[in-house]
């Protein structure tokens, strides 16, 4: 009887493992691309995507009906946190620019000033608004946005519009109002 019970437990644990790995294989690409869109660093995005799945696999509550929504929400949040870290680091590094000397033409070319500005604005606006804009920029539909950010699907448009206004206001305040 015990052997039967043990076999059943083992089967159940194998099933759970298979479920987790199936979802991993189905969602990894999208999660990694979502993070890469936020941080613009594909290699780091792949590492962070694994982190997101590890968090998910250790959180039984996240493995319920809205597992996809949970994964997208945590992915975009993880990406934004990484972005904030990068922005902070580059701010400190710019303080020591005189030590590094004059940048090479290649450095200047790769600066991608516009994207750095966007990084900064996304780092300082309200996290939920940044997450909404980032998911939208990755082609998420209103329904997917509602599910990922736990919003009422009828009010996604309003939230999105408000987030866009905040983004533009902050961008202009920082870079165009001179």
């Amino acid at each position: 009887m015990d052997a039967v019970r043990e076999a059943a437990v083992e089967m159940k644990s194998n099933e759970a493992r298979c479920d987790i790995e199936t979802i991993f294989q189905a969602q990894y690409r999208r999660i990694a691309r979502l993070i890469a869109g936020v941080i613009r660093d594909p290699a780091r995005a792949e590492e962070l995507a694994v982190e997101v799945f590890l968090k998910w696999s250790r959180n039984p509550e996240a493995q319920g009906k809205n597992a996809e929504g949970w994964l997208y929400r945590v992915a975009v949040r993880t990406g934004r946190n990484e972005l904030r870290r990068k922005t902070r680091r580059s701010r400190y590094e710019s303080l020591f620019d005189f030590v590094r000397g004059t940048p090479t033409p290649e450095e200047l070319l790769s600066a991608r000033e516009e994207q750095q500005r966007v990084d900064v604005v996304l780092s300082v606006i309200e996290p939920r608004q940044a997450e909404l804009l980032l998911l939208r920029s990755q082609g998420f539909t209103y329904d997917e946005l509602a599910s990922a950010l736990e919003l009422n699907s009828g009010s996604v448009g309003t939230f999105l519009s408000r987030a866009q206004q905040t983004f533009r206001k902050e961008y202009i305040k920082r870079y165009e109002k001179r």
């Binding site: 294989q25 516009e114 533009r168």
Partner: protein, 249 residues
């Protein structure tokens, strides 16, 4: 601002964020990701169970240690040493080091009380009576063979006995060992104690206020009154200064 207002807000934001869509040609490596995921999941579970085993092992090893009197005493001594060291450190930083102030406090002649008299046999069985030392300054030490600070003091007292005996100092030791001469005789033989040592009878401790902790050192003036009662260890130089002062009275 007018130009911004004319622009469609959604398009304006989409333009800024357009550069964030990863290149369509880039494909995340799912197999590598899955391998990392499996590795780290396994590692996490393994690490957690290892930590549990280590914690359980440590607890199992520590509990029997605490059950034995010897290890309990060792732990108690460690705690006392830590407390005393931290006191010293605090004294060092706050400038209130207790060790730097004089520890021996003299009673003024008018407030001194007569030392309770007693008669006890020394190691060779010869009776020693305290009042017989009237006219001399007496350093009376209450000690025991198991008392660590007492072991530090005994060589100092032997030295005082040698140095000051011609100037009128008598050093007397009274042991409070429960085992009596059985414990004291070998000890004083080994330490080569040169002054008279007695073993206290039951009533001696109560005569001198109970003697709850040792060492207790008394300095008795020439008139047989207690000038100094010091509990614990204090620097040798302070004893010397006190003896000098008492002999000069």
């Amino acid at each position: 601002m007018k130009r911004d207002d004319e622009l469609d807000l959604g398009r304006w934001v989409d333009d800024r964020l357009a550069g964030r869509v990863p290149d369509e040609a880039w494909e995340p490596n799912v197999l590598r990701g899955l391998a990392q995921f499996q590795d780290r999941r396994g590692l996490h579970g393994h690490r957690r169970s290892s930590l549990l085993w280590v914690a359980a092992g440590t607890a199992a090893a520590c509990l029997p240690l605490m059950a034995f009197p010897v290890t309990r005493t060792l732990a108690k001594n460690c705690v006392s040493a830590c407390v005393s060291q931290s006191d010293k450190l605090r004294g060092f930083f706050t400038g209130k080091d207790k060790a730097t102030g004089p520890r021996i406090v003299f009673a003024t002649p008018e407030t001194r009380k007569p030392a309770p008299d007693f008669t006890l046999n020394d190691a060779s069985g010869v009776p020693v009576r305290l009042s017989d030392f009237r006219g001399k300054v007496v350093l009376l030490s209450f000690w025991a063979t198991w008392c660590v600070p007492c072991k530090t003091e005994i060589p100092w007292f032997m030295e005082f006995h040698e140095t000051y005996k011609d100037r009128g100092l008598a050093v007397l030791g009274v042991s409070l060992d429960d085992d009596g001469w059985k414990a004291v005789k070998p000890y004083i033989g080994e330490m080569k104690v040169n002054y008279p040592v007695m073993v206290a009878s039951d009533d001696i401790a109560s005569l001198y206020g109970g003697l709850a902790s040792i060492p207790v050192t008394l300095i008795i003036d020439k008139a047989g009154r207690i000038a100094v009662t010091h509990v614990g260890l204090c620097p040798k130089s302070e004893y010397e200064a006190a003896i000098d002062a008492m002999l000069a009275e």
